[in-house]
Symmetry: C2
Subunit: 374 residues, 2 copies
């Protein structure tokens, strides 16, 4: 999507510099736009673990690029290619142990490179990486097309800008381009349908206030940041037409694990008859899980994400200076669960790269019949 009027992706290579991967440094956003260069799988693993890149789709793609860089080392290091690739895979998989797409991408690269002649390693790895990138982009674009009618129909009915609420960042910064929850928004905006987005700030890490607000602003989509507490009030007063969020993991029965607080918005949407849709590429469906709240283990993260926050101090004349402030009394205990599970009964529908379906097993199997058992 657009950054300073130029089309950008979150991760890319340049034709004249084949051994280097470029990434947007998401830690610096929204306060400065910086890119980093990565030339080895070890560097890529650090890039993932340091959260230079984050977001389900993007982590998988970054890991694939990491394996392509490992393939270069393996090709140089004739005779020991398998060991080099396995070591890189282990490092990359350990960089964010809970990310589903990371393991998926690394395993796919390992399978593709297994038994390949050292002379063909680099070309094979590059081709598979490009395939993964192209699939990520295509899935997000398809989600945009399939989700567009949700926005279009409201606009046709009301004749005014459509108010969409989103939580966290399921934007293009979480993928290669377009995003999942944001894809229908960008598609509608680019088609000239007026959209206004309520951006939940998404404590504790504020991915909404930092990343979603930034990417919508750069692409010119009207939006307002609100605290996570505001959604219920806005829905009670008819100020939200549609809630559209992403998903970190969706069970085969349609339960949705997503950023903590998503469940509260789903409850408010249900109580106020506001449609609540979840956009997801099928790569994030966990076909083995059937009872989200019981089966999905919720990561408990560092409490300092709650007790401290990053921002910039405005100096008036000079540039704003990055700073971290403590928000609580010294020594205060905080607890920090990263995700919650929204039960399928609160989800109006799912938007996938193959189309929309109800949030239940028969809906998902209708779109993905290859997962029918027996």
């Amino acid at each position: 999507m657009l950054v300073d009027g130029v089309h950008r992706r979150t991760i890319w290579t340049e034709p004249d510099d084949p051994g280097t991967v470029h990434l947007i440094d998401q830690r610096a956003l929204p306060f400065s736009f910086e890119t980093v260069r990565v030339t080895s799988a070890t560097q890529m693993a650090a890039t993932i673990s340091d959260m230079v890149v984050r977001g389900a789709g993007l982590i998988g793609v970054a890991a694939a690029y990491g394996m392509a860089l490992a393939a270069r080392s393996a090709a140089d290091d004739r005779g020991d290619a398998a060991t080099t690739l396995q070591a890189a895979a282990a490092r990359l998989e350990a960089s964010r142990p809970t990310a589903v797409n990371l393991t998926w991408a690394v395993d796919r690269m390992l399978r593709t490179l297994d038994g390949i002649d050292p002379g063909d390693l680099v070309a094979t790895a590059d081709a598979e990486t490009e395939a993964i990138v192209a699939e990520d982009v295509a899935a997000c674009q398809a989600i945009g097309r399939h989700g567009l009618p949700l926005i279009e129909e409201i606009h046709e009915c009301t004749g005014r800008p459509v108010n969409v609420m989103t939580h966290c960042n399921a934007g293009w910064l979480a993928f290669v381009d377009h995003g999942s929850a944001t894809a229908p928004i960008y598609t509608a905006h680019d088609a000239g349908i007026p959209v206004h987005v309520w951006v939940d700030e998404t404590r504790p890490r504020n991915q909404g206030a930092r990343l979603t607000a930034w990417e919508l602003g750069q692409h010119g989509v009207p939006h307002s940041v609100v605290v996570d507490n505001a959604g219920g009030h806005l829905m009670q007063h008819g100020l939200v037409d549609l809630v559209l969020v992403g998903s970190d993991r969706t069970t085969a029965t349609g339960d949705v694990a997503n950023k903590i607080g998503t469940y509260l918005k789903a409850l408010a949407a249900h109580d106020n008859d506001v449609p609540f849709h979840v956009a997801l590429p099928s790569s994030s469906i966990d076909w083995s899980a059937r009872a989200g709240r019981r089966e999905i283990v919720i990561e408990e993260r560092d409490p300092t994400e709650v007790t401290h926050i990053d921002g910039v101090v405005e100096t008036g004349s000079g540039p704003a200076v990055p700073a971290q402030v403590r928000l609580v009394p010294e020594g205060t205990i905080a607890v920090n669960h990263g995700f919650d599970v929204t039960p399928a009964r609160l989800v109006t529908g799912l938007v996938t790269e193959r189309g929309r379906c109800p949030a239940d097993e028969s809906g998902l199997l209708g779109l993905y019949p290859e997962h029918r058992r027996g």
Copy 2:
């Protein structure tokens, strides 16, 4: 309640210094404990408008003290006492225009002082102020007694510490002492019943993370700060036994206007069969309002409360330094509604100074029969 092991109130006078009112400076909390001295009604109005003091009960009491200081000027300024008192009343009422208790306290002081001989003004004003203070303290203590069984019964049933969730600060810092939502918690804790409080940080002004965490910590009540997004997840997993919040305004039919986000917690409590109780002195009941969501106008506050946040920068060796950081991309629009309305159907019960009742008209009129019409 306790501060550094010493019993404190939020506002007080000292016998040897009768023309001075002392207050805890709540803007400095939790990072430093400071008190301010106020010697005129004009200063008191500034103290209220600058939010040195806040909280429904405390604002009313501070205004009463302001009128008592005005009575001193009026007594000195013989012949024009009524004008002096009226001017002070106007200044105090304008200091936080939406606070119900402020108008109530100023009007009560004006009525009491109307026609009083200048020689008796100070003594009459001091006596009425002390009466208002005593009523505030007594109401909070009574709420504590009436709310205690809610906690006690859960402990008797489970035999383990009772997990209470609260939102915002309906603590002693919002009154003179004890608080409303916190009164049953302090009463239980002081009676030896083990309690653990989940403290919602309460964006945007973080009264939970700043004030509730501080006062619970000072009084020795175990607690953990969580982001406002966390409550639904905690309730889904059985980690909340009881939600107990305050109320800025309660309608005659039991709808509850309280800090933005309260409604989301009520929805989650309802969805998970967690009791959701609202503690309130009857002074905050609006007997004329019957339909909360339609009749109660929700204050829209300064968006910089959302886009910027105050905290302290930890310097390592030296003392932490107060700082404000911006959280969003430069120029981002934010919207900041201060309150929401929780419909009575989601409220398990009300806890008042006269006892507990269902959140409906007959429940409230059972406790306050003097408000029956006709």
